[in-house]
């Protein structure tokens, strides 16, 4: 019983208490760079979730084999391999998304969230916990990116997931799909998230 409760805690802390974007500020570059629409945010989130999950699994499995002095380069190679796999899958099956995300796909490699979880959690815990941790953190990341993408798309383009709900020539806040909008939207979402978090505690 205790085990189930603690796994639930590991899962939830990634989504709320230690949310990678709103609380920990990890992986900011893709967060700001690709969230001009909800779909792009979701795609980037899922790609990162996949790499995070796979690297946490592998790191947790081989943790006793890696000498601690070379552990960081070893983790980077593991992560880079999975990023290459994601890159090839996206290019082959979802070329439109591959074009949209562009340089941010190879840059998943330097997303501090993934290396951070490998170093801080997967290399010290057993496989099942590492999987739960990756799912929690990854889902927290997906939710944050999708919400940010949705807010920017609604305000900037008057649509959500490419479904347009204002007339063709209606005026929208174009600013929000341009670079400054990313910073401004994330600033106010963080304020909102902090408020909700403080109320919960």
């Amino acid at each position: 019983m205790a085990n189930i409760i603690s796994q639930k805690e590991i899962f939830l802390k990634g989504i709320v208490k230690e949310n990678p974007i709103f609380v920990m500020l990890l992986g900011m570059c893709p967060t700001l760079g690709v969230t001009s629409s909800a779909f792009n945010g979701l795609g980037m989130g899922i790609a990162t979730l996949f790499v995070l999950l796979m690297s946490n699994i592998v790191v947790s499995l081989v943790k006793s084999q890696i000498p601690s002095k070379v552990r960081i380069p070893a983790f980077i190679i593991i992560i880079a391999s999975f990023v290459t796999i994601v890159e090839m899958i996206l290019e082959a099956y979802i070329p439109a998304l591959y074009e949209q995300l562009g340089i941010f796909i190879p840059l998943i490699v330097v997303n501090c969230l993934i290396l951070g979880r490998a170093e801080a959690f997967a290399s010290k815990n057993k496989l099942t916990d590492a999987v739960v941790d990756a799912l929690g953190m990854g889902l927290g990341f997906v939710i944050a990116l999708t919400v940010l993408g949705a807010v920017r798309e609604i305000l900037g383009n008057g649509s959500i997931f490419d479904f347009k709900f204002v007339s063709e020539n209606a005026t929208t806040f174009i600013l929000f799909i341009l670079p400054p909008g990313a910073f401004i939207a994330l600033a106010y979402l963080t304020v909102l998230f902090n408020r909700i978090n403080i109320k919960n505690i």
Partner: protein, 191 residues
């Protein structure tokens, strides 16, 4: 002329931090003092230039002839990580004053996505050559330095300002970055 355009485009129009969102972590992380941001900019300029030269040559003369372009990500990140370590050791031996100024920032640069980003973007330049790639890297590093130092000077002033409770810390910094990015948006169409 072409080179001047690259410089203006990288520094003002497509600023690496404020328009392309690369290197946000050091941008938000080491920008609380102007002096530290100058040190960080120096370290980035140094590493970005050397990393781009190395990865460009590696891509052109090893990966392309061998048909191994798909190994780009994995090779580049390894080369950059090793390079940073090597630069750290060399600077420590050769120039202790330089090490004192840049030393603490060097390990942080391995996970700076701007370095890997510029190395990858440099491969896609039109009529690319090594010289152009190097110039592109230097221009982007100057763009990074400009954004970081301006941002740090604004943050130093913010310390004395009366900020609403909920906005303190991260949100106000993001908002300032947003306004700065808005200012840089004014350069659109310059090139």
């Amino acid at each position: 002329m072409e080179y001047i355009l690259i410089l203006i485009a990288a520094v003002f129009v497509n600023n690496i931090v404020l328009a392309q969102f690369l290197g946000i972590c050091p941008f938000l992380g080491v920008s609380n003092k102007v002096s530290t941001s100058v040190g960080m900019s120096g370290a980035v300029l140094f590493v970005m230039t050397i990393a781009t030269i190395t990865t460009y040559l590696l891509h052109q003369y090893l990966l392309v002839p061998a048909g191994l372009e798909y190994l780009r990500t994995i090779t580049f990140i390894l080369v950059i990580a090793t390079l940073v370590q090597m630069i750290e050791i060399i600077i420590k031996k050769v120039s202790p004053p330089l090490y004192q100024a840049l030393g603490v920032f060097l390990p942080l640069i391995t996970t700076n996505c701007a370095v890997l980003g510029v190395a990858i973007l440099a491969l896609g330049l039109e009529n690319g050559s090594l010289l152009k790639a190097v110039f592109f890297a230097i221009s982007n590093a100057i763009g990074f330095a400009l954004a970081l130092i301006v941002f740090a000077s604004i943050r130093e002033h913010l310390e004395l300002a009366n900020i609403p409770k909920g906005m303190k810390g991260v949100p106000i910094n993001l908002l300032v970055a947003g306004l700065l990015s808005l200012a840089f948006l004014g350069f659109t169409g310059l090139v």
